[in-house]
Symmetry: C2
Subunit: 246 residues, 2 copies
Amino acid sequence: MNEVIRQLMNHRSIRQFTDEKLTGEEVRRLVEAAQMASTSSYLQAYSIIGVTDADKKAALRKVSGQTYVEDNGHLFVFVADFYRHQLMSEELGADINDYLGATESFLVGTVDAALAAQNLAVAAESMGLGICYIGSLRNDMQQVIDILNLPEHVYPLFGMVVGHPADSGSQKERLPFKHIYHENGYDSSSYAEEIAGYDEEIAAYYRARTNGKRADKWSEQVVGMLSEKTRLDVDDVVKKQGFLQQ
Amino acid sequence: MNEVIRQLMNHRSIRQFTDEKLTGEEVRRLVEAAQMASTSSYLQAYSIIGVTDADKKAALRKVSGQTYVEDNGHLFVFVADFYRHQLMSEELGADINDYLGATESFLVGTVDAALAAQNLAVAAESMGLGICYIGSLRNDMQQVIDILNLPEHVYPLFGMVVGHPADSGSQKERLPFKHIYHENGYDSSSYAEEIAGYDEEIAAYYRARTNGKRADKWSEQVVGMLSEKTRLDVDDVVKKQGFLQQ
């Protein structure tokens, strides 16, 4: 196993950081590494907002509910972004409205932002920094749009906190390789068995960490969460921003 | 600049490979590295299909239009996947239909698959392999679903070809750092100027590569592409698979 793969295999989310802030040079290094990720058809359909303003960080923390959105070395927010493409089309007198309203552009913006984000995460960890994705910014996407002054054809996807780790985090076992990887076609014939085995592993992990007080199975945890009617407003917000008009 | 960041900064898409296939061990190593990427709320809402069957590769190449979909060391297809979650909810007698039909799950599946894919790309390049994303599988998403036998609550996002490079590729300049990175709020006040400068750079790049025959500006290239009414059927297909029901 080479050093890069060793680093990837060692990933864990970090939610506690020292007070040390990232330098401007570090931020630039990270963003430039993010930019080198592949981008669909060279569109570069994303932007990254760095948030250092204390009031804005407090407001975003309120949206997320997580203290580490405020307490970190740097907070990045990743947004899918076709605003620049809209400007360019107006400049050139072209009509790209069918594309901007299609589900395809929603996929492309989301994928472009996510690929850039994961490059940033890998770069940060290679510098000894810790990271955590903040999907909970989607608890109130409209608030995030207002706080960051996002124009039409832009929507926030998630944040990422980066900083000097103040704890070592812990790693959660992933689903078995053969559950995620299929050969030549989708095959769910052994799903029930694989999930049952994985459920036992995860329950054992929680038992060990909580002295037997907690023994959640993965399936129960996940289904419980998905049964809650949360983030149903994401649809309204992305439509208001000009996406998913089909 | 450390070695990991140097690798990220050196990324280029590779579209020509030697005949050497990836070994089973290499495939497993890559998928396991992919699995270690962050996943929204521990959902692991994606699967990866490895395609080695000659007929299936030929069929996917036809969808994509790219020869390297057939000629590579290994072809991966990344799919957003809530099928296992649907099975688990039935098993537990829970109702997760509101979630599965919401725009939020469409975002989560797309992001989860993309983060895993980018980890796989980074891992592959660390092993001296080359990669290229294949977004053109979305030229006919329904075909891809049929070829790979994808069930409901699953949709294909993109492929990735991986292999031993037979050429060195070439790197395309990204948008300026300050165009992608905003501080404390979205700021497009210098967009026009930044795009004009970038357009000149890209035109110079094409002029140099084509002995002056081609001098596309980025804005013209991108807007031209987005003006074409392509992939408008992505919407129908993902809805048929059970997504975007709001």
